[in-house]
Symmetry: D2
Subunit: 338 residues, 4 copies
């Protein structure tokens, strides 16, 4: 951490900075320029110290962080790539993992038909929402426990592991036995009660990026999970909010490369929520695979025009099959399997 | 809602749109241009129908909403300004309401001293956090129940009503008796489990704007509270995320005017979180009052340099007193009391 | 265009809207609901009428556009894909076009060496800047006319067509004879004097997206070029500004799909400026090709560590050759040639 | 500037950083931690050195700037507040300066009537556009030279100095004699040819903030003007682009405080363009004055419903007069005159 003092800062003010650094177990190196004094705060753990601690002291002009403020999710903490195991499936290795299914579970028939189709087309994990966080209280909120039951049944019939979103720590007891991967949605990325509770289950989980979260804050949220004992965390890019309105969100395709550099956690992409429209989903899905994502999370529905939620961004069976062909070709071109 | 068909859309496709409109209890008016057909979906409740319902149909080019998607929080639903009563204090009337105090409750002495000072300077409600949502799991997370006890004690000693943040529905039982106003933080604006639980308490609450939430989504979140039976909702603008980094967030000062036009709910401003630095807090506080905010939520600390959280954005007692003088003068210039 | 009147708007106010519509050559259809009156303004040319024209009238609540405000660049105006011819090269067809070279022309040797290398690796157009728009007046501003001369020389030696940025209408006379494709930079996307002047040359040009421009505004800027008589316009996505700081800009990968739907103009991608760092360039380049871009514009330098501008985002010869291999494989997987 | 080396960076890599620092006239201080080496680059002029110069070297992890990259516009370069003199009027002192008038000059009568009204209401400078940069090539583009003639005539009749936008260096010859203050619009903030040309006139100018420009980039653009010999620069905040769509732009009210800290240049606010709607203009204007702006630039029109451009954001004479009363009261409350 680099503390820049104001021009003309008094010696006692510099001393106060030094004292606070020492009190926090850090070393200090002083750079006394002609214009201003700069204090370097050194130590292996400065990433965990808030910059404020120094910024608030009198005579301080600015504080600049050098160590990243996340720790457990960083490559500096653990260099080796994390592999997340879901049954026989490994996320983060050479194989591209496709998770597909309806946004919301609507009925046994809808879910089973979709599962069978996406499985045949090459998906290995089934998605399906029982608890739906909706922007408006007047929208369909999901089937809840009934939905979980349907999901469990289809999981057994098809042998596909399932992923479903958790929105409330209260629901975890019911979900842990019926769901293979817990999903934390974008709106809950900084719901710390939920993060801690999910972390304590030890189950594999997908942590979606908040729609206004920087990559750094996303990895700090992952730190909450990892600090609770969880080790099986998959990150999921799903678009951030920008000024552009032709898509629902702006898929930050660069984040795939940034995460690969900064973190040991695998990263998948949800092209459906980013696009908001089925016509754009294949574009984003292909781009994600080419950029190096470890998998995809895609919404598929037997009859999008009559879906109870997110029909507009759901692929039909035919569109999904066609997309899987394109994705497979790109994966092969880059030396990955499916 | 206006449904624009693609050029050359078939008559059956238009009929499908019409049928779906009728099924949802809406009237339809058809505009058949030379280029394309446009279907107007009419009815007093179209704001509650998702645009997707039509966008997903074959042959549809675009769907444009005319009614706003929030309902209970809108001026169209209730034209008369909502007044929120907190003891003798009224938020939303001619009097400007100042809520001030430390970010986090640290000790009885810290809290009492601050309460006494801000009360003397003209604040009427005491703020103090017991449960602190922090970006990093390694930061101070608040005193929890112990903090609530201290808050309750100081409330009784000073007679000031208190506001404190709730981050988990589990905590509500403990908080309802000890806190006068529940605060829902920006990160939890779309934590719907929490919104419903808070709404059911019927207690006055402050709903902070999410850092990537549009005004429309903010009012939809208010709809969750109002739909749960709550009527005492105060909105709080606290800055949104933009590309600018010289402040922690970008205070959307315009939202005050927009809310006054669109909603009957009172709106206050938190200049401390928006600015992120004590030197900019007075600028934003003055602007908020001049723009027409109904109150302010300000962080004050007896010794910011040693605060356990958010010290950098906390005002000292002296700075707070000086600011209150400026604010009082502006309020008076605009015909408001304090 | 849909004009929504306020509740209780007077009949004369509605009549004023109708009169203005008729005056602008539009038809009108009236939807009189129980709550409010909605006026549909119909006609094939409403995209060119500003919404303000109606929004400013008394009694109007809101005006919503249905036709897009760009015209000449739209698929509705011209459905057939535009092919831009640069010598023998065609942009917008099945062949992927790679434009590569240094950010700034520094010397004859630097430029020739780079040209020969990128040509060998498969690039068909040479890029090189003579006039450099730099954020700071204290940075290297390019070699100007001298640079153009070097570019012309290398173009003749290698037979590669060249692209170079124009920043001032004054420079056009000198550039027209020495440059095959004129580039309009992101900062000048709404410099209308420049757009008109470039449009009048009739030379092929690349129009970069402004860093805060919506896709709609970008196509409106293209309308300026097309309205000046230009027909050879290539769009170039190069990243937009968002809150994320781990990359210099946020590549809006979705814009490729959106442009393909909305416009007949070809679109290429500049992964170098979006990434801002050489390590992320291949990620973005691969994603762009997979998403369906018609080409790439990439910065390559013989010795990035000593480049006079943008060295950090320039690929070395080796990195460029490796990337070309990956791109070629993805293009082939999607049925495109290189 | 702080250069952080990668873990395990070789000694020769560190030496290369040091050599480059020395070559650029900087001192170096080495911090060798257990984990990584950090090199502090010291010198009074490091703000002018691009961070890339070091970031591009092998073994470098990151480079962090401590000195701001703008120079001439900074308080560190010139601590004393700049006062801009326009005739007898001083911008940057205790007096609030109100510039008002129509967006576009439409006729002699329109301009004269508006000038007389705003002068009576307390404005001291007349605004009026002759060259209008419009998003669409099909919109009204201004009266050009004819407009300048009308402006000059009204200036002489009323004795009010005038401000008008320049969009092309070619127009400067004609404008210099007829316009008192040159305005550089948001879209041209980084049109460096224009900045240099305006700077060379030595006339007072208003530099609007680009809609995606950080405060730092804005001050770098001011550096272009100041480096060309200009000293009479007024900054103008007019809203930035964010995800919020209820206003045309998001007025960054905080920038007033940030500029006051970082720069010696005066700052005014344009509430009209930020709001995009006349109903919100007074809210923003009041906030700007309370925040400490040195003046306002406001659009006023005798008949907004029939304005040729920007009618929706123009105030009527009555609304302007009412606003001036409010502004005067706030200014007085804060010890400023009008």
């Amino acid at each position: 951490m680099i503390v820049e003092m104001r021009r003309g800062a008094a010696k006692e003010q510099v001393d106060q900075v030094i004292a606070r650094a020492h009190k926090n177990g850090c070393e200090v190196q002083l750079n006394i320029g002609t214009d201003k004094t700069v204090v370097a705060i050194l130590g292996s753990d400065t990433g965990r110290i808030p910059t404020e601690l120094f910024a608030v002291l009198p005579g301080v002009e600015s504080v600049t962080r050098i160590m990243r403020p996340y720790k457990l999710a960083s490559r500096e903490f653990k260099d080796e790539q994390t592999l997340v195991h879901i049954g026989d499936i490994v996320v983060g290795g050479p194989q591209l993992v496709i998770m597909a299914g309806p946004c919301a579970i609507e009925s046994h028939e809808q879910l089973l038909k979709t599962a069978q189709h996406v499985q045949k087309a090459g998906a290995t994990i089934l998605r399906g929402g029982a608890y739906k966080p909706r922007t408006s209280p007047f929208s369909f909120q999901g089937l809840g426990e009934t939905g979980l039951g349907l999901l469990d049944d289809v999981r057994q019939k098809t042998g596909m592991p399932v992923i479903s979103e958790v929105t409330d720590p209260h629901h975890l007891d019911g979900m842990v036995g019926q769901v293979d991967v817990l999903q934390i949605g974008a709106r809950n990325m900084q719901n710390y009660s939920l993060l801690r509770a999910v972390g304590q289950t030890g189950k594999p989980c997908v942590l979606k990026r908040g729609l206004a979260a920087t990559v750094t804050e996303w990895l700090q949220a992952a730190d909450y999970l990892l600090a609770s004992g969880e080790s099986q965390v998959i990150l999921c890019e799903r678009g951030i909010r920008s000024f552009e309105t032709s898509t629902r969100f702006t898929l930050d395709i660069s984040s795939i490369g940034v995460i690969k550099q900064s973190s040991h956690l695998p990263i998948i992409v949800d092209p459906s929520h980013a696009a908001g429209h089925y016509q754009l989903v294949p574009t984003l899905a292909r781009a994600a695979v080419a950029a190096g994502a470890d998998g995809l999370l895609i919404e598929v529905h037997p009859d999008p025009a009559n879906a109870l939620s997110d029909g507009l961004q759901s692929l039909t069976f035919n569109d999904f099959t066609r997309l899987m062909g394109q994705i497979g070709a790109i994966a092969a071109a880059l030396g990955r399997t499916m």
